[in-house]
Each structure stands twice: as structure tokens, then as C-alpha cells.
């Protein structure tokens, strides 16, 4: 048990108790997606397209269906057509017409790994054999993988009817450009005319996978009366319910989804892949159907986050004041529209107070798996370009990179290019915290050089429901409906304990299934501790209100004459009368006589999410002969609002930084000339391993969010944004060579160093 909160305002908030799910996870008792089984279950497997782009002329499933042990085969025919309707999913938007085509290809296979059929059989071996017996007649079409190629006039077009949105007048011809977005503030042209120095560069990043350890898994059981139960590893079981109801023409109340413990999601588990297939197979067979993806399937057909091309142009005065900024982002959407190009554009310059900004983005489809959310979707890509360019500016102006950012930092009242004016934010405080850190004040070790970069994320609120139930002994269960991927149960329990005035270990947080609590939007957008936290606080306040009513009954006084303090009902003043305080246990013992069980609940649409800012400092050493980069020291500073459970806030900063470092150095989807992914496994898709990294140091800058009772801001997204440029800027300063294309893998950096060597020798 911790010693008490470092924050004098609080008893529990700011302490670091063990997480409620911790013991089960270290002993192996916790059950993840693939751990759920039912008697008599069948195993479902998916047949996937070997071609990146092909017309499906016909599918013959007769031989597979005739194989002993095969109970059902489904194809697109088994799923109803959907309307062209956009629905939100976490921080992304999806079109139901596209989702049904993504879970099961209809007219065309649009990427290697695209599902074309699924089988349920009595064993995995038989299911696999059955897949081999399904005959698909494909007409292979030319494919396009790269965004720049996909935007060319002669590129193979994925969707015949796709006319670019956001262009006036609309184009007459279909193309792979789904949408153009534009953001304007001030007059960029006039701003550049005023500039004394202008830097312009082109950048690119590759597609990366979220890399969660746990592959997708779902178990579905459809009963004879039409009721369906699903167990799924997901960031949003209400989302799974909603999507499956739409995709299968069911009422949401017919589907009950339980979220299992989740082995990482990072945004990639906010969509459905297996669940609708498992339900349909279960409906057809009358048996439970279990489906799990292999790692190869996870890489080929789930996630990833997009890659993109970014052009940046920044104009400044000689004193470092930025007077104009432009940026163009071309982003991979995968096979269907809906890349996070919007947030990428909006975040690009959000850290800075710039009068004249012009941003354009393009959402571009190509023969890749449909992209999914990944921590701060889109933002790392534009930040990589903007923060690298700012580093060039700082070098040319001979300014400290933090001072340059301080000179231009957004603050309360700054209007962003996307129209929002900031309330209380912590960009300046975070820059100052980084600048005054021991890390930044000490020189890099011999052989090392230092890079700095910043990042911004909105954070979101949205719909949450919560309930607080008092047991007959006075202990409390807090019920919410968001899968816990970052320690949110601990944070919710801490806030409930603080609000209620009882000990943390008297509050048990649980995550209810979709039939046992009101609607909750997905775990995403760094919203759970903030928004569901607010629902929990409100449910506890409702519970306290009820407790006061019960005490008033017992004392025969007005409820207004009762106050709640330190977990007890007390008379609000001496004029109320002399009464012994009533604890939760005492109130619970008499609950039957005062009105029955004592519960509180709350439901709300939460607005007012506080944006977060991060500043990262990175020291690297480069082996000039091999191009290998060693990260020697790394510090992540972030405006985190109030840190409810500081260890898990630090964990978010560390995890995000590590994923960003991987993105910068080695991670990339590698496609061969045939349009097939060449590295669908952790051996050749290189995420960092523990020995690649130093301990990530963290600085929590606590600027409370004024719209939340405990000042909570989301923290999970921001930390993946700055690392790409923090690493790249450090590499540039270590070698004198500016890398503009990610990843900075040894072969790429070595080639760039060798190309620059004659020029540098001449200089």
C-alpha cells in the first residue's frame, strides 16, 4: 500500500497501488481472447486472397462442404449488403458498406490477405484442409501499393465509383483519391512574403503495425431463439455489438458481448474482423464457433497504421518567430477510404501559435489492408515532417531547439488552424520542464548527439455509463463498460475511493458486458480515465446522494441536513441533532428498512477533453560504418493533467515512446513487386526489443484539465508523436545527414551516409 498521495488535495489520487487486474495477469489466471472455449465448439478459419487486386468471378465451396467434419462455409453471400453510411469508430470513421466488404470480399479482393470465405469445422486441421478445397476463380488485376503511384492518373482504380470528395467542382472520373481536406488560418501567402527564412522539405513514412502481443480472437454462440453471445478481445465490446448487429441484421439487444482481458490494442482493436464471421458460422451450424488469427494473419489483414508522404514549408523571422506554415499530407487509407489524414493535418501545427497556416490532406486508397487507428492516428506522420523541419530551422538560426519551440508555443487563447481555441494547456510548461530536466542540462555522452521534438493530441470524451453498487457489507463495486488496456480500472477505482472517502481496496472495479451496463463508446482517444472516469465520479456522487437520503430516513431529518465526509454520513450542522456517523457498512446493514439496495449510476456524453502536449529528448550514437543507431538516453515530458495513478501514466509515456522509436528506426511494411507483404512476422517486422532501449525517463507535467473534477487529461496518445522526429533530429545532429524517409534502418542510413561522405569531405 502506498504512503499517501503526493498531492495534498487528495488521499488516493496520485498514489500507486497495485492494479486490480495485476495479480491475475502475473499468475496467468487472467483470460484473454483465445482462452475462452465452450463445449461442442467448432473452429473457424478464413480463406484469404493470395492476390492484392482481383475480381472474384466465382467461389465453389462444394468440395469443402463435402469434407467430413466441415459444418459450414460462408462467403459474402451470407452477409447482407449495407448502405453507404459512415459511422464513427474510436478516432476513425468507417463506412458500413466498406466494413462488410472488408470482413468478406464481395466483387473484388482488394489486398493480399483479404477474406474471401470462412469455414467452421470440428478441428483446426480439418478447417485448414477445407480452405484448400475451396475453389476461387480470380481475374487478377494490376495492383498499386504506393500512395504516390495510386494518385497517378493512370493508376489501377480500386473502386470504380469513387469520386474525390472535397473538390469543387467534383472530378468526373473515378480515382484512388477518396477525399481532399483543407485547413486555413490567416493568409499563408502573405506570411511567407514576410518571412526572412523559409525551409521546405519532403518526408515519408511507411505503414507500421500496432504490434499488440495478442492476436485477434473471438468466440460466438448463436442460439436457436436468435440470441447471440460473443467473447472477444476488443477495445470496445459495445462497438462489436453495434457493428455485428448492423452487419447481420440483428437488434443490438440480441447480441451480448463480453470483452475479455486484452493483450494490447493501441487502436487496432476498435474494428471487427472475426466476430461477424464467427456469429454467422454459429448461426449456420447451431454450435459455438471459435476463431483466432495467426500472427501472419494479423500482419496481412488487420491494422496497420498508414504510411504517408508529407511536404512541409515553414517561414520564420530571424529571431525564430514562425510567420507562415504549409503542409500537404498524402496518406494511405488501405483498401477502403478512411485514413486518419484529418487528424494528421489538424495536429501538424497545433503545438504552435502561428498566424498564417495552410494545410491540405489527401485520403488515398491502395491495395493494402484497411488501416486502423494506432495511438494518435495520423499525428506522428505530420509531426515527423513538421518537427524535423523545425530542427533544420533551429540549426540554421543557431537557436536552441527548445527555445525555438518556446518562442512559438501555443497557449491558452491560441486559435488552431482547425478552428478550436485552446483553454488551459501545458505546452509551455512541458517545454520548460524538458529544458530544465537533468537530461537536457547535461551534455550528451561522448559519441552521442541530441534531438528534440514535440507532439499534440486532442484527446476525446464521448459516451460513457457507470454504476456504483454497495454490497451488503458496505464494500463497493464500480461497474463500467470500457475494456482496460492501460490500467484504467486502477484509475477508476482511485477516483471512486477519493470521491467516496473509502479505501482503495474497498472499491472493486469491474468491466461489465454489453447487457449489464449502459452504452460505452470504445476505449480509444485516451478517453477512458477522463470520460468514463467522469461517469464513475458522477455515479459515486449519485450513490452519496442516495446514502444521504437513507441516513436522513434513519435519523428522521431532511436529506439536506446530512453531509458526506470520509466515507460517512454525518449531520450537516449542530442544529441537526446529535447522531453517530453512519458508515457505508452501517447504511448497507439497514438498507432493507430504508428503501432497498443502495446504488448509484450515471450516464453522460462527455465534452471538454483537455488536449495533451509532449516534448521528447533523445540521445543517439550512430555507427558510421554500419548505419546502426543506438538510443542511449531518452526522456519524455508531457502535460498529463492530474496523474491519477502516476505509474500507469508513466507506463503510457514509456510505451508510446518505445513504439515511436520502433517506427523511427526499423518498423515498416515491406511489399514485394507482386504486391505481397514480405515481412508478416516479428522476425522481419522489427519492433524494438528490451535490449535495444535505455529506460525511458518520464517527466509528468501536471496541468489539470479545468473541465474535469480531478483535472484528468488523456495521456495515451501524445507519447507516440514526438519520437519519430526526436530520433531523426538526433541522428541528423550526430551525422550531419538529415534523414527524411522513415525508417532510419541500418541499410538506409548507411546508404545516406555513404552518399553524403564525398560532399562532406569536400566541405
Amino acid at each position: 500500500m502506498p504512503d499517501g498521495s503526493p498531492n495534498p488535495k487528495y488521499k488516493w489520487i496520485g498514489t500507486r497501488p497495485d492494479r486490480p487486474d495485476g495479480a491475475d495477469k502475473v499468475t496467468g489466471r487472467a483470460r484473454f481472447g483465445a482462452d475462452f472455449n465452450l463445449p461442442g465448439q467448432l473452429i473457424g478459419k478464413v480463406l484469404r486472397s493470395p492476390h492484392p487486386h482481383a475480381i472474384i468471378k466465382s467461389i465453389d465451396t462444394s468440395k469443402a462442404e463435402a469434407l467430413a467434419g466441415v459444418k459450414a462455409v460462408v462467403t459474402a453471400k451470407d452477409f447482407p449488403e449495407q448502405a453507404n453510411l459512415i459511422v464513427p469508430t474510436g478516432e476513425m470513421q468507417v463506412n458500413l458498406r466498406d466494413i462488410t466488404r472488408n470482413i468478406m470480399a464481395r466483387e473484388k479482393a482488394l489486398y493480399e490477405g483479404h477474406p474471401v470465405a470462412a469455414v467452421a469445422a470440428v478441428s483446426e486441421a480439418i478447417a485448414k484442409q477445407a480452405l484448400a478445397l475451396i475453389k476461387v476463380d480470380y481475374k487478377v488485376l494490376p495492383h498499386v501499393i504506393d500512395v504516390a503511384d495510386a494518385m497517378k492518373p493512370n493508376a489501377p482504380v480500386l473502386h470504380d465509383g469513387m469520386i474525390t470528395e472535397g473538390v469543387n467542382p467534383p472530378p468526373t472520373k473515378a480515382s484512388n483519391i477518396a477525399k481532399r481536406v483543407e485547413f486555413n488560418k490567416g493568409d499563408a501567402k502573405a506570411g511567407f512574403a514576410e518571412a526572412e527564412i523559409v525551409i521546405e522539405r519532403d518526408y515519408s513514412t511507411q505503414a507500421v503495425h500496432q504490434g499488440y502481443i495478442e492476436p485477434h480472437a473471438a468466440l460466438a454462440s448463436a442460439a436457436e431463439d436468435g440470441q447471440v453471445q460473443v467473447w472477444s478481445t476488443t477495445q470496445g465490446h459495445f462497438q462489436v455489438r453495434g457493428f455485428c448487429a448492423k452487419l447481420l441484421n440483428l437488434d443490438t439487444s440480441q447480441i451480448r458481448v463480453t470483452a475479455t482481458e486484452i493483450g494490447g490494442g493501441f487502436g487496432g482493436k476498435t474494428v471487427v474482423y472475426l466476430e461477424p464471421l464467427a456469429i454467422r458460422l454459429s448461426q449456420k451450424t447451431g454450435k459455438p464457433v471459435k476463431m483466432t488469427m495467426t500472427r501472419e494473419e494479423v500482419f496481412r489483414a488487420s491494422g496497420p497504421a498508414p504510411g504517408g508522404n508529407v511536404k512541409v514549408r515553414i517561414g520564420a523571422k530571424k529571431d525564430g518567430r514562425i510567420v507562415a506554415a504549409e503542409c500537404t499530407v498524402e496518406m494511405q487509407a488501405g483498401a477502403f477510404p478512411g485514413s486518419p489524414v484529418g487528424p494528421a493535418c489538424m495536429c501538424s501545427y497545433a503545438c504552435y501559435d502561428i498566424d498564417n497556416v495552410h494545410i491540405v490532406g489527401f485520403d488515398v486508397v491502395s491495395n493494402r489492408p484497411k488501416v486502423a487507428a494506432y495511438r494518435a492516428p495520423g499525428a506522428p506522420i505530420s509531426a515527423w515532417a513538421v518537427e524535423s523541419t523545425l530542427d533544420i530551422l533551429a540549426q540554421q538560426l543557431k537557436m536552441d531547439p527548445i527555445d525555438l519551440r518556446l518562442k512559438n508555443a501555443a497557449k491558452k487563447g491560441t486559435k488552431t488552424a482547425y478552428g478550436v481555441t485552446f483553454n488551459t494547456i501545458g505546452m509551455v510548461e512541458t517545454l520548460e520542464a524538458a529544458k530544465s530536466s537533468e537530461h537536457y542540462k547535461s551534455k550528451p555522452k561522448p559519441g552521442y548527439a541530441r534531438g528534440v521534438a514535440a507532439g499534440f493530441w486532442f484527446n476525446v470524451g464521448a459516451d460513457s455509463s457507470a454504476a456504483a453498487h454497495v454490497g451488503e457489507d458496505g464494500s463497493v463495486t464500480v461497474i463500467s463498460g470500457n475494456p482496460d488496456i492501460g490500467g484504467s480500472r486502477a484509475s477508476l477505482a482511485l477516483m471512486a475511493a477519493e470521491e467516496l472517502g473509502v479505501d482503495y481496496d474497498k472499491v472493486r472495479p469491474v468491466i461489465a458486458d454489453t447487457a449489464s451496463i449502459g452504452f460505452n463508446f470504445v476505449t480509444g482517444g485516451s478517453r477512458v480515465t477522463f470520460a468514463t472516469g467522469l461517469a464513475v465520479v458522477n455515479s459515486v456522487r449519485d450513490l452519496i446522494r442516495e446514502c444521504k437520503v437513507r441516513a436522513a430516513k434513519i435519523w428522521n431529518v431532511d436529506p439536506e441536513a446530512v453531509m458526506w465526509e470520509n466515507g460517512m454520513a454525518k449531520p450537516a450542522g449542530s442544529n441537526v441533532g446529535e447522531f453517530e456517523p453512519l458508515t457505508l457498512a452501517a447504511l448497507a446493514a439497514q438498507a432493507g428498512k430504508t428503501g432497498g439496495p443502495i446504488n448509484g449510476h450515471a450516464q453522460l456524453n462527455v465534452t471538454g477533453a483537455g488536449p495533451g502536449f509532449g516534448v521528447h529528448v533523445c540521445d543517439v550514437k550512430v555507427d558510421n560504418d554500419t548505419g546502426c543507431v543506438t538510443v542511449g538516453r531518452y526522456t519524455a515530458a508531457q502535460d498529463v493533467g492530474t496523474a491519477i495513478h502516476p505509474s500507469y501514466v508513466e507506463g503510457q509515456l514509456q510505451g508510446g515512446a518505445v513504439q515511436g522509436i520502433g517506427w523511427a528506426l526499423n518498423e515498416e511494411y515491406i511489399y514485394n513487386a507482386k504486391g505481397k507483404l514480405d515481412n508478416p512476422g516479428f522476425l522481419d517486422y522489427r519492433m524494438p526489443v528490451a535490449s535495444d532501449l535505455p529506460m525511458i525517463e518520464t517527466i509528468l507535467v501536471e496541468v489539470p484539465n479545468p473541465t474535469h473534477p480531478y483535472g484528468v487529461r488523456g495521456v495515451g496518445e501524445v507519447p507516440i508523436i514526438p519520437p519519430l522526429a526526436a530520433v531523426g533530429n538526433a541522428v541528423a545532429r550526430a551525422t550531419g545527414v538529415r534523414m527524411t524517409d522513415l525508417p532510419i534502418s541500418p541499410p538506409r542510413l548507411s546508404a545516406a551516409l555513404d552518399a553524403a561522405a564525398p560532399k562532406m569531405a569536400a566541405d
Binding site: T626, C628, P688, S745
Partner: protein
């Protein structure tokens, strides 16, 4: 569903007979760190699996007249704990200990690493540089070949049906000799060599008396690079000799462009690693400790 037979061989003769009877559908199970992964991915579909871990001579290390014979299935972790072998052949033992992760080390073996016939195998370039000999048994008796002649191409050995790799013999070694193995991996662990380089040196004073140089992952099989060795022999490992040997290494490369590295990169790194490995081997002769992978 095809049937798989699992057989535990009690001795080498048993194992050879089982493999001969399997008519090309037989696979040896030592640690299984490659075979099980390949079965799972569907790239190998054995009819018969012959487990050789119960054969004493295949899981032991024997020293005779200064030479070591290491059973082909001896776990890498056991090899790493053999003090005398490690002192005599630090480069090879270090290479064997680079295979997989700590957990994999408990099962993986040098023999398995060789029989998997990957050009990127870590232990193989080190064994080639060390002049290790592979001892083979088969229906027609025993034979021995140098390790560099063992593999035919990626995933293919020169073993004939019914033949198995029994053990590996490390030659006798003088005090004025040592070896080193370096590999380039983009990460620090849990990775596969983009290039591997083994160097074995015998010195007389500060002059190289004898040398063997090998390269992995730059050609269909691990290469013994005689030209690089010749450039080192007679030198004092001065820059000129190292540059010439590095150039010989780069010239010997016939790599491919793939997801793990480009032709340009592999060709360059072959030379870089040669220089570094040669200096580490010399340092070891001079009693200077070294550890590292790049």
C-alpha cells in the same frame, strides 16, 4: 490429415535406419527450434520425426588430444557452459550462443543450426572459420566433411537419404590462436543476421601466421573466403592488410536484395565486420576480453 510418426532413436544406427525407412519424409528432431516452427507454418510436413536427444554421443562434449567433439544435438546452453571449449574457441561458442533467445538456447544446437542450412545461420560461419568437421553416419557407414561443404543451398544439405549429422569436431588449437564471430542485426537481440563473419587467427608474435575467414548471409551457402585469409596471413593486421581482406570479403559476396538488407549494404558490411572480427580475434590472443555482436 496426414499422419506423423514420432520415433525416439536409442543409437545412431537406429536413427539412420528410421531415416532411411522414411524415404525422404523423415526429419530429425534435436531441439526442434526450427522444425516445429516450420511444421506450424506448413513449410515442412514430416512423415516421420526421429528424436535423437536420447543418443548419448549426440548430446555430449568429448575432448581428445586437444580436439573437441560436440554431439550434434547438444543444447547451445550446455556448450556455452563448457569452460574449456569456450576458452579454446570463444568465437564459435559466442556464435552458438547467439542462436535465438535465452529460452531457445536450452533446446537449440549447433548441429541443428547447420542442418537447417540457412545461409544466415549464426554458428555456421564461425564453425567454417574454425575449420570444424561434420561427422556423418548413414546406411553405408561413417564419413566426415568440412562444415563449409555440408550445405548445398538455402534449406538444403548434402546429406544422403538415411544419413544424419552425428557430431562436430573442433580441431586442436595452440595458445597463440583465437577466433571471433560478428553479425550485423538491426536490433540487438531476437534477430537474424543480415551479414555474419567468422575469423580464426593464429599469430606468431604480432604477425598473422594462419587465418581462416568466413561469411554468412551473403551467398546461397556460408562462404570460406580464402582470398581474405591470404590478405591477412603474413600481415600485422595493419590498415592496408585489413582493407585488402575487407575488399576480398566484399568481392566474395553474391547476396540478394531482400527484406533484410540490400546487395549494396550486405557487400559493404561484409568488409566492415571482417575488420572488426579480425581485431577481436587478435585481442583475444593477447588476453583482451570482448563481447558484442557488431
Amino acid at each position: 490429415m496426414s499422419e506423423i510418426q514420432y520415433r525416439v532413436a536409442k543409437n545412431v544406427k537406429d536413427a539412420c535406419a528410421a531415416m532411411a525407412a522414411a524415404k525422404g519424409k523423415g526429419y530429425i528432431l534435436a531441439g526442434g527450434t526450427d522444425l516445429l516452427v516450420q511444421m506450424k507454418s506448413g513449410t515442412r510436413e514430416p512423415g516421420v520425426i526421429v528424436d535423437v536427444k536420447k543418443i548419448p554421443e549426440m548430446v555430449s562434449i568429448v575432448e581428445k588430444n586437444g580436439a573437441f567433439t560436440v554431439g550434434a544435438a547438444t543444447p547451445a546452453a550446455v556448450i556455452g557452459e563448457h569452460k574449456k571449449l569456450k576458452k579454446t574457441w570463444p568465437g564459435v561458442v559466442e556464435a552458438i550462443n547467439l542462436i535465438g533467445s535465452t529460452q531457445v538456447q536450452g533446446r537449440a544446437s549447433a548441429g541443428g543450426n547447420l542442418c537447417n542450412a540457412s545461409p544466415a545461420a549464426d554458428s555456421v560461419p564461425a564453425m567454417v572459420a574454425a575449420g570444424v568437421v561434420a561427422n556423418i553416419a548413414g546406411p553405408k557407414g561413417k564419413r566426415s566433411v568440412p562444415v563449409e561443404k555440408f550445405c548445398a543451398g538455402p534449406g538444403k544439405t548434402n546429406l544422403k537419404t538415411g544419413e544424419i549429422l552425428v557430431s562436430l569436431t573442433f580441431p586442436k588449437r595452440g595458445k597463440d590462436a583465437s577466433d571471433a564471430y560478428l553479425r550485423l542485426i538491426p536490433r540487438t537481440e531476437m534477430d537474424i543476421a543480415v551479414v555474419g563473419c567468422g575469423v580464426s587467427l593464429t599469430m606468431k608474435g604480432d604477425t598473422v601466421k594462419d587465418a581462416r575467414v568466413s561469411l554468412g548471409a551473403v551467398a546461397p551457402t556460408v562462404l570460406l573466403v580464402d582470398k581474405a585469409a591470404k590478405a591477412l596471413i603474413g600481415s600485422k593486421l595493419e590498415d592496408k592488410a585489413l582493407d585488402a581482406a575487407a575488399q576480398a570479403c566484399s568481392d566474395a559476396c553474391t547476396p540478394i536484395d531482400d527484406k533484410r538488407g540490400t546487395i549494396r549494404y550486405r557487400t559493404k558490411i561484409a568488409g566492415v565486420l571482417l575488420k572488426r572480427a579480425a581485431l577481436i580475434a587478435r585481442d583475444r590472443i593477447n588476453g583482451i576480453e570482448h563481447r558484442g555482436h557488431r
